[in-house]
């Protein structure tokens, strides 16, 4: 019974926490430009994510150590520093992106520029981290995040030809704008396979004191939660394809997407969009800031816990404080939030080999994963994912230049 509750809560958490600035924006861009044609990239990304999240949860449950800790202990300092640099830089940009998403939602709601909202939003995030506990942040924000189910409702009420939607799940070559198409593929995969999520999830498993008995919970949450989360991303594509594409809207700014729910949900459409954007991005901002603090603190062996008072984990709290202090800078400088989103997602794709590569070694390690080491299927998937990550890393920057 208790496990069932845990599974349900975990699934709700993954669904409510799935959408964020990157997945919302890239899905809307994909639908507006290419209809259902890019759905396959969300499905592919979600499939990779399911396996990676399951693996990071399993490693934490079996070793009782968070991912960053195992990484440093097993592969050494030199390697850890490379991962820290790659994931750290990207996490900073994604944090700025998510703050930008919240700030832009507030601009849509109030008419006051996102540049003025950047600092207050960062302050609110910081306050939540400073005063909140892991459970409150993870569960609370994610439950609020269920408002994003509005996209699923809208997609269903638009009555798409489901056969056409299903056809979008099969990869096809684009008929036009090939560079932009592949650019969006990279963006979507970067947004879906978010490396920070792995550190967040595994630290959460340690915070919640998972052990081997949680492995079924872990599997269910990863598979079911992430599948529904991916379905939400797909719903955004469907809505954009059926609302924005026929009207010839090209999404170059968050305001271009702001009315996408209105034709279906009437006067509820706009507030639901604004609320979805604000809450999804707020939740993601908290997760990213925490992930960064987890990564640094665990790698250097500092005391860390979001459940403890800041004074008992001073260096840990200092990391997220500093991150939130610096993250508003690009927004204050006037960088367009959607541009920032696209840049962050493309760079996330570049960082993927560093973030995912080690998973193959760590999940096959007798000392840490023990008898719960990867089986052949997980290994095959993670190897394919790593190969994919290398391809993405190589093509990402050139595609930003020609397709962005």
């Amino acid at each position: 019974m208790k496990k069932l509750l845990e599974i349900t809560l975990g699934i709700v958490t993954s669904i409510g926490g799935f959408l964020e600035a990157g997945s919302l924006a890239t899905s809307a861009q994909a639908g507006a430009s290419f209809g259902f044609a890019l759905l396959w990239s969300i499905a592919l990304g979600t499939l990779c994510l399911i396996f990676l999240v399951e693996m990071s949860g399993r490693l934490a449950a079996v070793s009782r150590m968070p991912l960053a800790g195992v990484l440093r202990a097993r592969l050494g300092y030199s390697f850890f520093v490379i991962v820290l640099a790659a994931v750290g830089i990207v996490a900073y940009l994604v944090l700025a992106t998510e703050l930008g998403g919240v700030a832009y939602a507030l601009q849509l709601a109030t008419g006051v520029s996102y540049r003025l909202w950047a600092l207050p939003v960062a302050l609110v995030c910081w306050l939540i981290l400073w005063k909140g506990t892991f459970g409150v942040i993870e569960k609370g924000v994610s439950v609020l995040g269920l408002v994003t189910v509005a996209f699923l409702v809208a997609a269903v009420r638009l009555h798409p030809h489901w056969s056409a939607v299903a056809a979008g799940l099969v990869p096809t070559r684009p008929a036009h704008q090939a560079a932009h198409y592949w650019y969006l593929v990279v963006n979507i995969l970067g947004a879906t396979i978010a490396p920070y999520l792995l550190y967040f999830y595994s630290a959460g498993a340690v915070e919640d004191e998972w052990d081997e008995s949680h492995l079924p919970v872990n599997r269910a949450v990863a598979a079911i939660g992430m599948t529904f989360g991916g379905a939400l991303s797909c719903a955004v594509v469907v809505v954009a394809a059926m609302v924005l594409l026929p009207r010839g809207v090209r999404v170059d700014d968050y305001k271009d997407m702001a009315t996408m729910l209105s034709p279906v949900l009437g006067h509820w459409g706009f507030p639901l969009f604004v609320l979805s954007l604000a809450i999804a991005c707020l939740g993601a901002a908290l997760e990213v800031a925490l992930s960064l603090a987890y990564l640094v603190a665990q790698g250097f062996g500092w005391n860390w816990s979001e459940n403890a008072k800041p004074r008992t984990a001073a260096r840990f709290s200092a990391v997220y404080t500093a991150a939130l202090l610096l993250a508003p800078l690009p927004l204050l400088a006037g960088v367009n939030p959607l541009k920032l989103t696209n840049i962050s997602m493309a760079l996330t794709a570049v960082s993927l080999p560093f973030a995912i590569g080690p998973m193959l070694l760590l999940l096959n390690d007798e000392d840490y994963a023990g008898e719960h080491r990867n089986g052949p299927i997980s290994n095959l998937v993670v190897m394919v994912t790593i190969a994919l990550a290398f391809v993405l890393a190589v093509v990402s920057i050139p595609l930003v230049v020609v397709g962005g």
Binding site: L361, N364, E366, D367
Partner: protein, 117 residues
């Protein structure tokens, strides 16, 4: 001669020359024996296979790595007994013998590695 000190983490990756000034390989691992809590250095491992064992030995359930660990690269590991390593200048460790005199392979843990199936 008084006591000398060297940092293990700074030895890792250092190139070692032999007594004739020829390259013998890089230090990738230091093997010690344990007496109670005390750790006494027994030998230094040089060469790419030493790095390989350090990183993947507990990961040999992965067929790809098992292949790598058994393949031709696996022989590129040399063992330097502690008394053959001159660490008076830790930045430039030197062998007290010729590199041809070094034993190759994995030594004491060979049986253990072979038993991983």
């Amino acid at each position: 001669m008084g006591r000398r000190e060297v940092h293990l983490e700074r030895l890792l990756g250092r190139r070692v020359d032999d007594v004739q000034g020829q390259r013998a390989g890089r230090i990738e691992e230091v093997r010690a024996v344990r007496h109670g809590m005390e750790l006494e250095v027994r030998e230094y491992l040089l060469g790419p296979a030493a790095l390989l064992t350090r990183v993947v030995r507990s990961t040999l359930s992965l067929p790809l790595l098992r292949l790598l660990a058994r393949g031709p690269l696996a022989r590129r590991q040399w063992r330097v007994p502690w008394e053959m390593m001159d660490l008076r200048d830790p930045e430039h460790p030197r062998l007290r013998c010729a590199r041809e005199e070094l034993r190759a392979g994995d030594g004491p843990e060979e049986e253990e590695a072979a038993s991983v199936e």
